[in-house]
């Protein structure tokens, strides 16, 4: 596009999204007024849910297209700032929006691995990859692998890795959508999943990347507004200054001081000993498997036999039998988990701000941070966004904008966590069970907060509270005493975060199959309109499969998402970076590197998770720490032992290194 046209286009976009933001604020304010006039909170939930999905649907319909370049890369005319917002929404999932503050609450310093890991990757992306990918200028990452290394094999490995990493991630997002919709409008989880599915499809089906991009910008605006309001209010309530990012230092001091007091509190020690006994009991039971399993089962069955039919205790025992592990293996897994959490509760609270004291803890912290950083820079759905800017120059500044927009949320998350923790330590611990604060009673009712009077003294001890990570962001509006409309806003924000990520992933998977596999490998004679049609059909199929898998609500999904980072880090990242920065890298090196990286990472993941493999005490979640160097070293050695890439490839590499002109091998369509 010419410069004048581009400037006019930018001005138009600013105007559209400016008006959009104004209308959204008006919408929230008028719901707030209606609430104070007595509108049922149920309708506020409906208004947020259907209102926002309606807007996404409208954008999706306006952005419909059947042109290849529009469908795959939004016509390459997304200005840097807007691509930054879209990338930020694409990147920040329900886990960032709802889960991260809670993880910080529970983990203290250890949780900071997520803050640094999920932002630091954007430095790698901006410096090592984004501008060069844009200069190359096709549609997908497998496109790059084929053009750079030659042949279908690199592309094929890229397709497999893209599908594995994106699909687990997609399932988790659809689950997130299901949970949010079911919680806020009170439909069953399965129905929530399919409502969410409709929400996902309206954003992408008609317009592909173009529609996804413009809805993601709209979703970013909603999620960032929603994230800021409760935390500003709680900062004002606790410190008198509405700037949470600066004021939570005071909360940190309160936390440290209160936790020190709790360490030697006799009542706390009493509760910790109860936890310790529980852990010991479970340990005995695990040692006594499989006999302990059948004995436990027989005991419950015996109890049911001896109780009269209508006894309340009988119903209780029947429930216990229903949730009793079905096999000794299942019992081992469950009891081990229970034992670990009981063990954790039996220890005095560790400092919230101190890094891990042992070297194993430090090594794991650094390894996890590294895997998350490299994984972020290797995830195909994020890389793909950098094809959509008008120029190389804009791809660079777009990477900077993306990090800035992500930073706004991540810079604030530690404040959420600290304010919530200081609130719990000040206003929950030491209270009588009979006078729970309203917010605690509400979220305890739905099981997100667990408080049990273990020592029977009627007073809440810190060791008697366990908090689900999701509860921190969800409960903050009530802690701060905000009206229900803010809770609805949080739901809309969480939904926006989950939908935007789900859409980015969905289109990545659909393109990997329709563009990379079908068009580029199986049937290259496809007409442009047929390509777009097949892409759309696959969107539908993949979305339905994703929702189907999500409806089982498998516990392993959350774990698998963390694995996706290590997998992306150990396959894509080295192949793409070496392809740009090492001219001598060739097909043999890249392919063996990717295969070895993938194999080593998978071996350690599965081995450490299920079969007790342990290298240097590294946890499963940081498996990539072995796969990344394995990939790079193998690629380097193999490439030096085999023939250098031919002069055509060498000049292709030269060509993508500077912005001017077009890339020889990468023609525009």
């Amino acid at each position: 596009m010419a410069k004048e046209a581009l400037d006019a286009w930018r001005a138009k976009l600013r105007k559209i999204y400016g008006i959009y933001t104004g209308v959204f604020v008006l919408f929230v304010v008028s719901l707030w007024i209606l609430e104070s006039m007595g509108l049922d909170p149920k309708f506020i939930g409906y208004a947020f849910l259907f209102g926002t999905i309606g807007v996404y649907a409208a954008i999706g319909i306006i952005s419909r297209t059947s042109i290849v370049a529009e469908y795959y890369v939004a016509g390459r005319k997304v200005p840097a700032v807007f691509n930054g917002m879209a990338t930020a929404a694409d990147w920040m999932s329900a886990a960032s929006f709802i889960g991260m503050a809670g993880a910080l609450y529970n983990l203290g310093y250890d949780g900071l691995a997520y803050i640094m890991g999920w932002t630091g990757g954007y430095v790698l992306l901006a410096v090592l990859i984004a501008p060069y990918i844009r200069k190359f200028g096709q549609y997908t990452i497998p496109d790059f692998l084929e053009a750079r290394y030659g042949g279908k094999l690199p592309r094929f490995i890229g397709i497999i890795a893209a599908i594995i990493t994106s699909f687990t991630y997609l399932t988790a997002q659809v689950t997130g959508v299901g949970i949010i919709t079911s919680r806020f409008i009170g439909v069953p989880f399965e129905l929530g999943v399919f409502l969410g599915l409709a929400g996902i499809l309206v954003c992408s089906f008609l317009g592909g990347m173009r529609a996804v991009t413009w809805t993601q910008v709209a979703q970013y605006i909603i999620l960032i507004v929603a994230y800021m309001i409760p935390v500003v209010a709680i900062s004002y309530k606790q410190t008198g200054v509405p700037i949470p990012q600066i004021m939570y230092g005071q909360a940190l001091q309160t936390i440290e001081q209160k936790q020190r007091q709790l360490t030697n509190d006799p009542k706390e020690i009493e509760v910790r000993n109860i936890w310790k006994n529980k852990a010991d009991d479970l340990n005995q039971k695990i040692k006594g498997l499989p006999d302990s399993w059948s004995k436990g089962k027989a005991e419950i069955e015996e109890k049911i036999k001896n109780l009269p039919v209508n006894d309340l205790k009988r119903a209780e025992a029947e429930k216990a039998l229903k949730s009793y592990p079905k096999t000794p293996e299942e019992a081992k897994e469950k009891w081990k988990k229970d034992m670990q959490s009981a063990q954790a509760m039996s220890k005095p609270p560790k400092s919230y701000v101190q890094p891990p004291a042992d070297s194993k803890g430090i090594i794991n912290f650094l390894a996890l941070t590294f895997c998350l950083m490299v994984g972020t820079a290797g995830l195909p759905h994020v890389l793909m966004r950098f094809y959509t800017t008008p120029t190389v120059r804009e791809a660079r500044s777009s990477a900077a904008w993306a990090l800035f927009f992500i930073f706004l949320l991540y810079f604030t998350a530690p404040a959420y966590a600290a304010f919530a923790r200081s609130e719990v330590l000040t206003n929950l611990v030491g209270q009588a069970f009979s006078s729970l604060p309203a917010w605690a009673a509400k979220w305890a009712g739905v099981g997100l907060i667990n408080i049990k009077d273990l020592n029977g003294d009627g007073i809440i001890q810190f060791s008697e509270i366990s908090i689900n990570p999701d509860a921190v962001v969800l409960a903050t509006p009530e802690i701060a005493g905000l009206p229900y409309v803010v809770a609805g806003l949080i739901a809309a924000g969480g939904l926006a975060a989950a939908l935007s990520t789900a859409d980015g992933l969905l289109i990545t998977i659909a393109n990997a199959i329709s563009h990379d596999l079908y068009y580029k490998i199986i049937n290259p004679n496809l007409s442009p309109s047929a390509r777009v049609k097949i892409g759309k059909a696959l969107l539908l199929v993949v979305a339905v499969i994703g929702a189907y898998v999500a409806s089982f609500k498998l516990a392993i999904i959350v774990e698998l998402v963390a694995w996706a980072f290590s997998l992306a880090a150990a396959t894509f990242f080295p192949a793409v970076v070496l392809g740009i920065w090492d001219k001598r890298m060739n097909k043999a090196g890249a392919v063996t590197g990717m295969i070895v990286g993938l194999a080593v990472t998978l071996y350690y993941m599965i081995g450490s998770r299920f079969y007790g493999v342990d290298w240097f005490g590294i946890k499963t979640i940081a498996s990539g720490i072995f796969g990344i160097p394995a990939n790079i070293i193998v690629a380097f050695i193999v490439s030096r032992l085999t023939k250098a890439p031919d002069s055509e490839i060498q000049s292709f590499v030269d060509n993508i290194r500077y912005p001017k002109g077009a890339v020889g091998a990468g023609k525009e369509e």
């Binding site: 630091g120 430095v123 901006a126 005071q250 590294f370 900077a400 500077y658 912005p659 001017k660």
Partner: protein, 86 residues
């Protein structure tokens, strides 16, 4: 076409920029994490500095690094005459 020699010098400077940025990137994240417990003895405005670096300090520097990279590389393009024609 861009001259081979121009490109080599351009790429040399780009590489140097990349290494500088990644050096700072590593120091403020991994370096700061390694000495976090001693940094924590410094408390500013209620924030123990070790915790602060992990929670806000490092990521603020990340944003500045990306901004610097974008400005620096765009200037470098013009200096070597390899910027895009508009």
């Amino acid at each position: 076409m861009v001259e081979k020699e121009t490109l080599e010098r351009y790429w040399g400077e780009t590489k140097k920029n990349m290494l500088t940025i990644l050096f700072i990137w590593a120091i403020v994240s991994y370096g700061a994490a390694l000495i976090a417990s001693s940094l924590n003895s410094i408390v500013i405005f209620g924030f123990p500095m070790g915790y602060y670096m992990g929670a806000q300090g490092s990521i603020t520097i990340f944003v500045l690094l990306n901004l610097y990279n974008s400005v620096y590389q765009n200037k470098l393009d013009i200096k070597y005459g390899v910027a895009e024609e508009e």
